[in-house]
Symmetry: C2
Subunit: 167 residues, 2 copies
């Protein structure tokens, strides 16, 4: 049996990109933005031009343009002007997964705040409706408050992997 080195499987990559785009769509991402993100993630190059993205995905440059605008706005993708060329190149922002996740978590705060307005509308926590809504509010407020500590642990965990403590 011959040794077979790890090798890039373009076809698997295509369906991977498509799968991920669908998952991200559940998180509220526009479909095309998801595709662009994972084409960048899946590229061995560190940055790609809009034309390269369009070609690899087999979609029109128009779609890429809109997706890029969205992603740059979210600070997930950085635009890198190439000196001496009209092509810009685009690359994933470092730690953007971390950031996006944190941002998504902040939705919990929004929910908690909205629930609090419901408590007020219900006439306070002593009404049956108010009590139910207050329970919901407290849960999400608590999760939101404790999430930063969890993510800080991740940062610690990661740096421990890179800089193991002396035995």
């Amino acid at each position: 049996m011959a040794y077979s080195p790890p090798q890039r499987d373009e076809q698997a990559m295509r369906s991977f990109v498509e799968n991920m785009a669908r998952l991200l769509a559940d998180w509220g991402f526009p479909r095309m933005a998801g595709r662009v993100v994972f084409t960048l993630m899946a590229a061995d190059e560190q940055a790609l031009t809009a034309a390269e993205l369009a070609e690899r995905l087999g979609v029109s440059p128009a779609g890429i343009s809109g997706a890029i605008r969205y992603l740059v706005h979210l600070n997930m993708v950085a635009r890198e002007p190439v000196p001496g060329s009209r092509r810009d190149r685009y690359r994933m922002v470092d730690d953007s997964w971390y950031e996006v996740t944190v941002a998504k978590m902040s939705l919990l705060k929004t929910i908690s705040d909205a629930a609090d307005q419901g408590v007020a509308a219900a006439g306070g926590e002593n009404t049956p409706a108010g009590a139910k809504l207050a329970g919901m509010r407290d849960f999400y407020a608590w999760v939101q408050d404790n999430m930063p500590a969890l993510l800080a642990q991740w940062a610690a965990h990661k740096s421990r992997l890179h800089h193991p403590p002396p035995a």
Copy 2:
């Protein structure tokens, strides 16, 4: 200045329900299901019939039916047959917010697994693309692994409020 007791504000409640339904829609809930959930949460009664839901929301009974089916399937709402009547009543399942949030978090595992497939398609962690995808996979796997502990803390926190330890 006269004392004014807390009082239910129906108009504020209506916009609260609509707001929340929109927020839940971002989490992938069908719009109508969100409305039903918050109409139940906002009710001083513990359970409502389909007809009551339709009337309070000013929507057709048909819409309620579909939403209820969805919510019962998700185990967020329980169907309570009323003896001696053909009306069923529907109530929120206790702790369903907690459960729904846990379920949503399991999406992180899905993402992590998908990322791992991307690593394979890229030809392993030693390729540039594979390394990027592996970083993403590890982050979501870690968050997923540590989430249960966080939510367990909530359970502890809540029971502490209800049964304060002796001084």
